[in-house]
């Protein structure tokens, strides 16, 4: 591969331009200069750290380390799903359901992709496993969080409708059926739109990165398609699990709508 090595002074050049941008916005009193600089600094520190970790992981190539890394990523993703909900289920359920959905969406799909489709040797080879998992977690997180947020928010807003349907003798699954469908739709829409527009509106990030790093476009395209299918699978099954578990938790064993199980929205 004929990769042009990127040196630190070249990155510094880009950094100087970001600082210049911050200077311009400060001069125009737009009030974003500070957050721009903080975000840029975080990017450098976080990516540098993860780079170090990945280098160490790649060098060691031990299943235990890969598994620990994956677990940490999963828990952070579960926490993130919970944090993005306005009205979350109380008592650890928001975190539990979020993490379970992320486990299904990303873990299962990553392991499946690694063992059945890509087949590196060993199958957990960190060079493949960690970026794949990271990409899946990052992309499916949005879908799962959107679906759950829509579910709890709609249930709260449409309490009267749900209860009136219960009064008419409908089972809870039917009473919340429309809301479940809506939640699934809003969770899956970004992924479906992304697939529909891929290559037309923008070149997907992973493919662009691979091409910049010297991979032949044909191969990069294949990997991109694989990733997009994996993301669609992960988002779909993750959102499905989250909506199924979340909506079940909104009702008790006597099929009563229990909105007291939702925490009030955060300000």
């Amino acid at each position: 591969m004929d990769v042009i090595a990127l040196s630190w002074w070249q990155l510094a050049l880009a950094a100087v331009m970001v600082v210049a941008l911050a200077g311009c916005t400060a001069a125009m009193r737009l009030g974003v200069g500070r957050s721009l600089l903080i975000a840029a600094t975080r990017t450098v520190v976080q990516l540098a750290l993860i780079g170090l970790v990945l280098e160490a992981l790649f060098a060691a190539e031990r299943l235990l380390w890969v598994a620990l890394m994956a677990l940490a990523m999963l828990l952070i993703a579960g926490r993130e799903v919970m944090a993005r909900q306005q009205r979350r289920l109380r008592g650890g359920w928001a975190f539990g359901i979020g993490t379970l959905a992320m486990f299904l969406s990303s873990f299962a799909v990553t392991v499946l992709t690694l063992t059945v489709i890509i087949g590196p040797d060993p199958w957990y080879r960190p060079q493949y496993a960690i970026p794949l998992l990271g990409m899946l977690l990052g992309n499916t997180m949005t879908g799962v969080a959107l679906a759950l947020d829509r579910l709890t928010e709609s249930a709260w807003r449409q309490r009267g409708v749900i209860e009136n349907r219960l009064m008419l003798g409908q089972p809870w699954q039917e009473a919340i059926g429309d809301i479940r469908r809506e939640a699934m739709r809003s969770g899956l829409m970004p992924t479906i739109n992304g697939m529909a527009a891929a290559g037309l509106v923008s070149l997907p990030g992973m493919m662009t990165g691979q091409i910049l790093a010297g991979t032949a476009p044909g191969l990069a395209v294949k990997y991109q398609i694989l990733i997009m299918f994996a993301i669609a699978l992960g988002t779909g099954f993750g959102a499905l699990a989250a909506v199924a578990a979340g909506s079940r938790r909104l009702f008790d064993s006597r099929e009563r709508l229990r909105l007291d199980r939702l925490a009030p929205p955060r300000k």
């Binding site: 209860e163 009136n164 009064m167 008419l168 006597r254």
Partner: protein, 211 residues
């Protein structure tokens, strides 16, 4: 036919140990100050809120049936109805009989009406009809009605028409009915018995307490 509706030591909110038996076809009116817990009592009987005590329909205790089957028999019609689909007809499990529609002042065309165009009075009458069609699905089985101010949005003449239609249906099918009402004239017209919520208890009033 028809079965009694029996409340056994039902407690919810401020109400404590409510015990009451409605014989088949009987209408019991329930009154009480705003916020005294009338609606919550109905919700407890329909098992929509956690509560203490038990409700029975004939020999069947609420807890012995899946909750949705209980609610399909012990039918609560709330004070404010809610609609989830675009057209009236989509909310009815079966097309209602012409006679029922006519008695409530509608024709069969109402099924094609848009829900968004309904007035509050039309909604209230259609919500009653919607509930009754569910009960009518199983003509052989016992049922009961819990009505939360079913005529609150209706004018005098329509109120009378709805009362007449309901009374006739209740008599035919033998449904015991708990009817939340404020209007003393209405209570006098429809009730066999009248209970009032006072503090934590239900107190029986004369059927004609104000005459």
């Amino acid at each position: 036919m028809g079965a009694a509706l029996r409340l056994e030591a039902l407690s919810i909110g401020a109400l404590r140990g409510v015990g009451l038996t409605l014989v088949p076809g009987e209408v019991v009116c329930l009154s009480g100050a705003s916020g005294s817990g009338k609606s919550r009592l109905l919700r407890a009987i329909a098992d929509l809120e956690p509560h203490k005590g038990e409700a029975w329909l004939g020999e069947t205790p609420c807890a012995s049936l899946p909750a949705h089957q209980w609610r399909a028999r012990v039918m609560l019609v709330p004070a404010e109805s809610h609609w989830w689909a675009e057209w009236v007809g989509e909310h009815l499990v079966t097309p209602p009989a012409e006679a029922d529609l006519a008695a409530l002042g509608f024709t069969a065309g109402v099924l094609e009406w848009e829900v968004a165009r309904l007035s509050s009075g039309e909604k209230q009458r259609l919500a009653l009809l919607r509930a009754i069609t569910v009960l009518d699905q199983h003509p052989g089985e016992p049922g009961a009605l819990l009505l939360d101010e079913p005529t609150a949005n209706l004018d005098e003449a329509t109120t009378r028409a709805v009362e007449a239609w309901l009374s006739e249906r209740l008599r035919q099918r033998g449904w015991p009915t708990l009817w939340v009402a404020h209007d003393r004239e209405q209570i006098r017209r429809v009730a066999h018995r009248h209970w009032q919520i006072e503090g934590q208890r239900l107190v029986e009033r004369e059927p004609r307490p104000w005459t």
